[in-house]
Symmetry: C2
Subunit: 395 residues, 2 copies
């Protein structure tokens, strides 16, 4: 594409967004409270159960289990804490390396460091925006060796213990490929499904393929509990340990306080779970709206040269949490011009995260070639994605 054409893109993208969402300003993602939210919150106040006692935490966990098909869901205070506990239960120890995409939210890497382990950054692919399994396989073949059943990084000498794919903007990563890599190198698979509630891969819910998976219900997610998250697992023993570790490991007793191990206060309060119970009742409705919004955006963006709208990967059903535009030209300058123009017009667009491998605090972490991640970072723009935008009628 020549420069002249590129320079028209910011305006064209802005016009395209306007043609879908209308002339009014649009946030990146707004929550909606159109169901039983108020009834359930009011019930918490009326009964006095807002905190660690009350029915909504159990109920929300059972709701999550039936919606995702996970055998066990353990509600916690946010996605980061869910990942922290999931990594402990996956057997990550101080000194281990954990493979994570460089292109993810900082929480994925932070949680690894809480255990004294080191994030090891790997490349993503255009097709899914998640870890490139084939490239990871080749990479591990070149940099690791097996010692017994353990994969060792030949350069650092550290054990490589787990892969944590993140299902970016709701699009499932290549789980078939990643499971193959995990098996070949004896790595534990822990899925960061913070963004992908409702997204399925080959018919099964994201977060249920790994030994453990995690969800987030932050305010910008497809459903929200204010702040909240959950751990998913099919392993009953791990589920019981997850509950213990997130609730100070108190040994049940009618009055005594005894705690069996060092643990955490990651309990989701009843009032936040109440919000979750109301929100999940409408999740299918929201996903449908988001998928419809994708079609609306597709209709306009397919006519614009120089950009492509991210589509759910083959074999996947995506919740389309954040609609994603990929600019053909991987120049940061063009990306920032589009961000500037669209935000100035009142449409809250945003780029992907800066690669975590480029942050000072992770400067010493090992990493593979990250060519595609860098390109994606320069090419990605998230568009206004609230479910309500699908219902706007424009001329």
């Amino acid at each position: 594409m020549n420069t002249a054409a590129s320079n028209l893109l910011p305006k064209k993208v802005t016009e395209a967004i306007k043609s879908v969402v209308g002339v009014n300003p649009a946030d990146l993602h707004e929550p909606e409270f159109v169901g039983n939210e108020w009834n359930y919150l009011k019930d918490c106040l009326d009964t006095g159960y807002v905190s660690s006692v009350g029915q909504y935490v159990d109920r929300f966990e059972r709701n999550l289990e039936s919606f995702t098909g996970a055998k066990h869901a353990i509600a916690v205070v946010n996605g980061t804490s869910a990942l922290h506990i999931a990594l402990i239960l996956a057997g990550i120890e101080s000194g281990d390396e954990v493979l994570i995409p460089a292109l993810t939210f900082v929480a994925t890497a932070n949680a690894v460091t809480y255990l004294g382990a080191t994030p090891h950054f790997v490349d993503s692919e255009r097709q899914t925006l998640g870890i490139d399994a084939q490239k990871l396989k080749n990479y591990l073949q070149s940099i690791s060796k097996m010692q017994g059943n353990t994969s060792i990084n030949r350069k650092t000498g550290r054990r490589i213990r787990a892969i944590v794919p993140m299902h970016t903007f709701g699009h499932p990563s290549d789980l078939t490929g990643l499971i193959e890599v995990a098996n070949e190198f004896n790595l534990v698979l822990v899925e960061d499904a913070a963004e992908s509630l409702g997204s399925r891969f080959n018919g099964s819910h994201t977060g249920t393929f790994g030994k453990l998976g995690i969800l987030s219900f932050n305010g910008n997610k497809i459903i929200t509990t204010g702040g909240g998250g959950a751990i998913l697992t099919s392993d009953t023993e791990l589920a019981m340990r997850a509950k213990q570790l997130t609730t100070t490991s108190k040994i049940p007793h009618k009055w005594e306080f005894r705690h069996s191990e060092i643990a955490y206060n990651y309990r989701l309060p009843n009032i936040n779970a109440a919000l979750g119970c109301a929100q999940i009742e409408n999740v299918e409705f929201k996903i449908a709206a988001k998928r419809e919004l994708y079609i609306k955006y597709y209709e306009v963006f397919s006519k614009i040269e120089g950009v492509h709208l991210m589509r759910e990967p083959n074999g996947s059903l995506s919740n389309y949490w954040l609609q994603t535009l990929l600019i053909d030209d991987p120049s940061l300058k063009l990306r920032d011009e589009i961000l500037e123009e669209t935000n100035n017009a009142g449409y809250r667009t945003r780029p992907a995260w800066n690669l975590l491998s480029d942050l000072d605090q992770f400067g010493g972490s090992p990493k593979s070639d990250l060519t595609e991640s860098h390109q994606l970072m320069n090419r990605i723009i998230n568009l206004p994605s609230s479910p309500k935008l699908a219902r706007i009628v424009t001329d």
Copy 2:
């Protein structure tokens, strides 16, 4: 006291409780939502601001500042996370020892371990139920040495870095004595004021004497946010760091994601802060009720031989969060008989925590002589303490 008299105590205590709180069952501590709780929660839903955006977090922090007199209050997701961050900001490093009472909730010790530091358990005193400052001073003189400005445990060789007094059941610890010890041994004072919102020592609010202090708003506390906590400090730089560390250290930018250091997701959601804003409007009312309840209990328990009601220490004003009965006879058997009898009668009483030094996970931690803590553990029974109980009229 002879055994025959002791054996009458469980019944006498039960009758005494009944004479104060009436014949109906009474919880240990119930929250009350009698103010603007509904309005503020509804406002969150109506505006869509339930999570990290919204006015209530700021407002709750300013409310806490004006109520406690702390220069800065930083709201977080619970008391444990507040303590975790406060300890980081106090300069605790992996390998350090932190002096804490053996008689406290497990969170105090857990938070120390999150930093790779070791809890060092010290004895409490009858007068305050908090750390015995004089005994601590003697103990440190015998087991530590100064290396330059640093206090070193001569036995373990580790640096002793901080004292974390906990203001038990709302009664302020001996802050005068503890500040003196902190100065003599160059220790940082971090106050665990999880239970003492509204309690003052020499006229100033607990949690404002140390370099940092923390509060909790768990469901059983004097005010609740469902789950929540706060960090208090008069140091503006530490306050800014506390905000950064609890909100993933994101560098403010209109769309970019950059994070300056490894950090945490300990943000209090707006919806929980909204509850806090309503709750704190009534805190004085609740404290007054609790102080009145103390007087009612005092009237009946002062007539019973073999028990004493815990009274606020001299020079302190206590929030009387949990009313506390001290049995004269330090026998676990008698304590448990009273717990059994009162609970069977529908009155939720509970003992103090088992000493943390007796838990397996802290078995390797250093400790001073804990004679008084052991005695207190055997002697303490918390009584039903809800503010509403002060308003019950009995014959």
